[in-house]
């Protein structure tokens, strides 16, 4: 029997004991206070900034949130019992709807194609203009921006927030903090609450959700997204980008010296230093070391250190610096969208504004994107509304009838992707005078007529009988053809009769 003895506490507290674990060693090494293996988050208090890029960010924030919240409510009339929601991922009905496109689960490769397109577009945009996605449209950026705006509403701007956090608990601090977290949770709930409408009919679900009869998946998804939104945008913020997101690491391969990035123009800014009024600008750089670019940064970095993994290229430091430059009566654009190559070129007295759009990588991404988009469009326009699968009976492979003729059984799976009932004519080619019969039909005939309901797959049993004179081989290749006014399908299969019957 194992005896559990707690020795986490030293039996001899005064004795000189070696480290008992890596964590303990690290704790010991870190000394008093810093007893963690993990780097604690340094709080960041981004200051509100005004300017061109901030305006663009506000506009995109409103636009992207509007798309997210409004899309599930767009109606799109479809016949019969089919859902009238323009964009719907219908797991129960196993369909994906996007306006005039309807995809079946077996066509999931269109979604794959879409993801490939999105990736290539992201690569192209990044190679040309840097991390536009990160800075303006990534949900993490948008929601964090929104949460910081709420924080500012309750706790004031940077200095007020820093003072509040440093102050002891008081009624004022309590209501501000409580109010902020309450609104954050409200937004987080709204985020999770909107997500679920993409998976069910929105007007039905919103009613069922509130009366408590919604599907369990809706409540669980809503709860999970509420929690992640609150944690990611409220408390983790830049840590998500720096530690969790793979994209900052991948971008190193996308960017080159010619990519536009938020850049501190060190050729113009250095040597930096404080500047007194009426002091000459001769022999020094334009950067007055006011740190405005640092205090507005939501990632807590100094852009003057150059391009770095943490920088999401949001452009807020551009606005902050421009504001100062105007005050200093110096030209704007000390921090600007620029390329490493241009900066280096100006430093050596070369061409002033060198910018090359056409580079081997941008051409490659553009060509790849064009090819994939072309394939997608071709695939979508060419895909058939009908589909035929033929499953040959294997047990028994064939049956010999009283008069010596041979019968094979098949199961036909006929897919009707259109929104109207279709009547298909099924024929078999390759056996002279073959007779087709389906259960329930009065007589056998050389063709079958099968009605398939809209948006359905129907399995039909078909028995093919060949007269002894028509059997030329033990294994005859045959072709099932299926035609309807909207399309046709052909499937190669076999008619087996055994050596004895083929003679």
């Amino acid at each position: 029997m194992t005896v559990v003895i707690d020795r986490t506490k030293s039996p001899n507290p005064n004795g000189d004991q070696g480290p008992v674990s890596a964590a303990a060693a690290a704790r010991r090494k870190a000394g008093e206070g810093g007893g963690s293996l993990y780097k604690p988050r340094t709080p960041i208090y981004p200051k509100l900034v005004h300017g061109r890029w901030r305006m663009i960010k506000w506009a995109l924030l409103v636009a992207t949130l509007a798309v997210y919240y409004i899309v599930p409510w767009i109606r799109w009339d479809r016949p019969g019992d089919l859902p009238d929601q323009a964009v719907l991922v219908d797991f129960t009905g196993r369909r994906f709807y996007f306006f005039f496109i309807q995809l079946w689960p077996q066509e999931v490769y269109f979604i794959t194609g879409l993801l490939v397109m999105a990736a290539l577009a992201l690569f192209l945009i990044t190679a040309l203009f840097g991390r536009l996605w990160c800075g303006y449209t990534c949900p993490q950026t948008v929601w964090t921006d929104l949460f910081i705006a709420v924080e500012r509403l309750f706790e004031g701007d940077r200095n007020a927030r820093m003072k509040l956090d440093a102050s002891p608990m008081s009624f004022d601090k309590l209501w501000r903090k409580t109010g902020k977290h309450a609104v954050w949770l409200g937004i987080a709930f709204g985020t999770g609450g909107a997500w679920i409408f993409y998976f069910h009919d929105a007007p039905t679900l919103i009613r069922n959700f509130w009366v408590g009869t919604g599907p369990m998946t809706a409540y669980v998804s809503c709860a999970i997204l509420t929690a992640t939104t609150y944690v990611f945008a409220g408390t983790m913020r830049e840590q998500v980008c720096t530690y969790m997101c793979p994209w900052p690491r991948i971008q190193g391969a996308m960017l080159d010296n010619h990519s536009l990035q938020v850049t501190y123009r060190r050729d113009r800014g250095e040597p930096r230093g404080p500047h007194k009024k009426n002091q000459s600008w001769e022999g020094r750089g334009d950067c007055i070391d006011c740190n405005q670019c640092v205090v507005v940064c939501p990632m807590g970095i100094d852009i003057r250190d150059g391009a770095q993994l943490e920088c999401i290229n949001c452009g807020l430091c551009i606005d902050a610096c421009d504001e100062i430059m105007v005050k200093m009566e110096r030209p704007r654009g000390l921090i600007s969208y620029d390329t490493d190559h241009a900066v280096a070129s100006r430093e050596t007295g070369g061409v002033k504004n060198l910018y090359r759009f056409v580079r081997s990588r941008t051409v490659f991404y553009a060509v790849a994107l064009t090819i994939v988009s072309g394939l997608m469009i071709w695939g979508l326009t060419q895909r058939s509304a009908v589909d035929l699968h033929v499953l040959r009976d294997r047990n028994p492979t064939f049956v010999r009838l009283q008069d010596g003729s041979v019968r094979n059984g098949y199961t036909l799976k006929i897919t009707n992707r259109s929104f109207a009932p279709q009547t298909f004519t099924v024929l078999i080619e390759g056996i002279p005078g073959a007779q087709l019969k389906t259960p329930g039909a009065a007589i056998a005939s050389d063709r079958l007529s099968v009605v398939v309901k809209p948006d359905e797959v129907r399995a039909v049993r078909v028995f093919v009988t060949a007269a002894p004179s028509a059997i030329s081989a033990a294994n005859m290749p045959v072709r099932m053809t299926m035609t309807s006014p909207t399309g046709e399908a052909r499937v190669q299969t076999n008619f087996l009769s055994g050596e004895a019957n083929a003679r």
């Binding site: 070696g18 028994p396 049956v399 010999r400 009838l401 019968r407 129907r458 049993r461």
Partner: protein, 289 residues
């Protein structure tokens, strides 16, 4: 392994357990604190579980637990639920005739699915998974039927069986002509040639001629003058290529001598009328009719 004094390791400063394996000693490091917490949490959980759920066996019973949970009862109620779910589908079969079931695409699909499952569980043992039969067990996929192949014929056979002992069972009796000394071995031999000739195969002419009168007297009442059989009596057609007990002379001779007849159980007592209907439609559909 040998026992040693507990001592303090010079490098790490941690006490050893005092055990030694080929010179290797083990540091007696404390358990990780998280592990301890999980351990105690499990202990607390286990005590709670004993109180809330059935846990301890007694002599005649067991501790029931405060929550009154019972897997046995859950299974019973789940089975009741299952019956309800199946009832919804079976209602369609209940009210429709066999012909209506086969004509209606949705009822047919339901019957075929149900029929396939029931066939696999109960019929495939003798008739084969695909229903193609075996020696002594009729092939259900062709157009040759001993007792008739219409939907109603099949349903009747399923319900009452063949030679099953059920009052309404289908009964036919091929006499054991040889074994019961109704015919001499030579006559059985000649009759074998006659039956071979009936199925259009070359046979010993004199033997056939010798048997002609005997066939009319002994066999024609059931198998018909022309040998085409009679489904009303379950008498097989002797002119086609299908032979339940084998087609060669030895097998035919054996059948005239012994007069074998198989037994098909009556399923009416075991299956609901809806299941019999589904099975009949499944067999009828797969026979290509």
């Amino acid at each position: 392994m040998s026992e040693h004094e507990r001592e303090t390791d010079a490098i790490s400063g941690v006490e050893t357990t005092g055990h030694e394996w080929d010179g290797i000693r083990e540091l007696d490091n404390p358990l990780p604190r998280w592990w301890l917490w999980v351990f105690w949490a499990c202990v607390v959980f286990a005590i709670g579980y004993w109180v809330a759920f059935p846990a301890w066996p007694g002599v005649n019973s067991y501790t029931q637990g405060l929550l009154g949970s019972s897997d046995r009862r859950d299974v019973a109620s789940a089975l009741v639920e299952l019956d309800k779910v199946r009832g919804a589908g079976a209602a369609g079969l209940k009210n429709a005739s066999l012909q209506q079931i086969e004509q209606d695409p949705e009822l047919q699909a339901y019957a075929l699915t149900l029929g396939q499952s029931v066939f696999g569980d109960n019929c495939a043992t003798c008739h084969g998974a695909g229903g193609a039969g075996a020696k002594g067990y009729p092939n259900l996929r062709d157009d040759i039927w001993l007792w008739g192949g219409t939907l109603d014929d099949i349903a009747f056979t399923l319900k009452h069986g063949i030679r099953s002992g059920e009052p309404e069972a289908r009964i036919s009796m091929m006499p054991a002509f040889g074994r019961d000394k109704m015919l001499t071995p030579v006559q059985v031999q000649d009759m074998t040639e006659y039956v071979v000739a009936l199925s259009g195969r070359p046979a010993d002419r004199p033997a056939v001629d010798r048997s002609r009168q005997l066939y009319a007297d002994q066999c024609a009442s059931c198998h018909g003058v022309d040998g085409k059989g009679d489904q009303a009596q379950g008498a097989p057609n002797l002119t086609d290529g299908e032979w339940l007990y084998g087609s060669d002379r030895g097998a035919i001779n054996g059948q005239i001598h012994n007069g074998r007849g198989g037994v098909m159980p009556a399923w009416g007592g075991r299956f609901s009328p809806e299941t019999i209907k589904a099975l009949a439609v499944y067999i009828h559909a797969n026979s290509g009719q």
